[in-house]
C-alpha cells in the first residue's frame, strides 16, 4: 500500500461519533490521518483548499454524515460529485437515517456507499473498521489529485 493513501476526511458535527471514529481507526496497526470538519461549508472549504484550508491535503476517502449544520450532507455530496477534480474521491455516507427514500436518493447523487450508523457502541466501532479495511485493503482507491487545485494569488 502506498503511504499517501491513508487520509480520511470525516464530516461530522457530533463529537461523540468523532471520538469513536478516531478510536476505531487508531486500533488499526497502520497509520491513518483523520481530518475532521464539523459542517458542510467547512467541508467544502477543506476540499477546495480555501480560506484556512489552503494547505489541506486531498483525502483518499470521505466519511459523510447527512445531518450537518450550515450545509447538509446532500448538498455536500452533490457538490463533490459535480466537481471534476473531487468526484473521484469515494464518499461513504454514514448516517442514522434509515428511510428507504433517502437511501435511493443518496445513491442517485452518486454516494459510493451508504451505511447506517449502528447505535450500539461495539457495532459502531466494528463498522468503522470494516470501512477502513474494505476501502484501504480490498478496493483500489483513485490516484491522487496532483498539486493544488487553485494556485495562490
Amino acid at each position: 500500500m502506498i503511504e499517501e493513501h491513508r487520509k480520511i476526511l470525516l464530516i461530522e458535527d457530533n463529537p461523540g461519533y468523532v471520538l469513536l471514529t478516531r478510536e476505531a481507526l487508531k486500533e488499526n496497526k497502520k497509520n491513518f490521518d483523520l481530518y475532521v470538519v464539523k459542517d458542510g461549508i467547512e467541508a467544502m472549504s477543506f476540499l477546495r483548499q480555501e480560506n484556512k484550508y489552503t494547505d489541506a491535503p486531498h483525502p483518499n476517502l470521505i466519511l459523510l454524515d447527512l445531518y450537518l449544520p450550515e450545509k447538509d450532507g446532500y448538498e455536500v455530496l452533490k457538490e463533490i460529485k459535480a466537481d471534476d477534480e473531487l468526484k473521484r474521491i469515494p464518499v461513504v455516507v454514514l448516517t442514522i437515517s434509515k428511510f428507504e427514500e433517502d437511501i435511493s436518493k443518496i445513491y442517485e447523487l452518486h454516494a459510493n456507499c451508504y451505511i447506517i450508523k449502528p447505535i450500539n457502541l461495539d457495532q459502531f466501532i466494528r463498522v468503522v473498521k470494516s470501512i477502513q479495511d474494505f476501502w484501504f485493503t480490498i478496493a483500489k482507491l483513485p490516484p491522487k489529485i496532483r498539486g493544488k487545485r487553485r494556485s495562490a494569488k
Binding site: 460529485k81 471534476d84 468526484k87 473521484r88 474521491i89 469515494p90 434509515k98 428507504e100 437511501i103 435511493s104 443518496i106 445513491y107 442517485e108 452518486h110 459510493n112 456507499c113 451508504y114 451505511i115 447506517i116 449502528p118 463498522v127 470494516s130 470501512i131 474494505f134 476501502w135 480490498i138 478496493a139 483500489k140 482507491l141 483513485p142 490516484p143
Partner: protein
Amino acid sequence: MNNNEIGNPIEILLVEDNPGDVRLTREALRDGKVKNNLSVAKDGVEALDFLHKKSKKYENAPRPDLILLDLNLPKKNGIEVLGEIKTDDELKHIPVVILTVSKAEEDILKAYNLYANCYIKKPVELTAFLKVVKSVENFWLTIVKLPTN
C-alpha cells in the same frame, strides 16, 4: 444493517465473460452469510439488455441490487456499460463494483469519474480471488445498506 430483512434474496448481476471467474464468484457467493441470487451476463450488450429487460429472454429479469462489472468485455466494454448505467435515471442508483484484472491508474480514474461505486483489482491467484469476492460480499451485503428497488 441487514439487506434482506424481509427475506428476499439479494439480486446480484455479474457481468463477466470468463467462465472460470464466473464459477469462482458463484462458489464464493454461495457460501455467503446473506441469501443471494446471482445472474450472469457475458458481455456488455447482454448486460444492458438484462438491465433494460430487452428481448424475450430478459423480460422477467430481476432488477439487480448490486452489479459486479468486469472491464474487458466483448461487444461493449465495461467502461461503456458503466457510463450507460450511471446516466440512466432508472438504473443509476444501483451500486456498481468494478472487478477487473486491470490496475492501470487510467482505468481506476475513469471508473471513479464515471461514478463506479468501487474499484477492485481481481487477484490472479485462486485463494486470493475467493477472499476478495467474500470481502465484497461481506462489505456490500452486510455492512452497506443497498438501495431498495
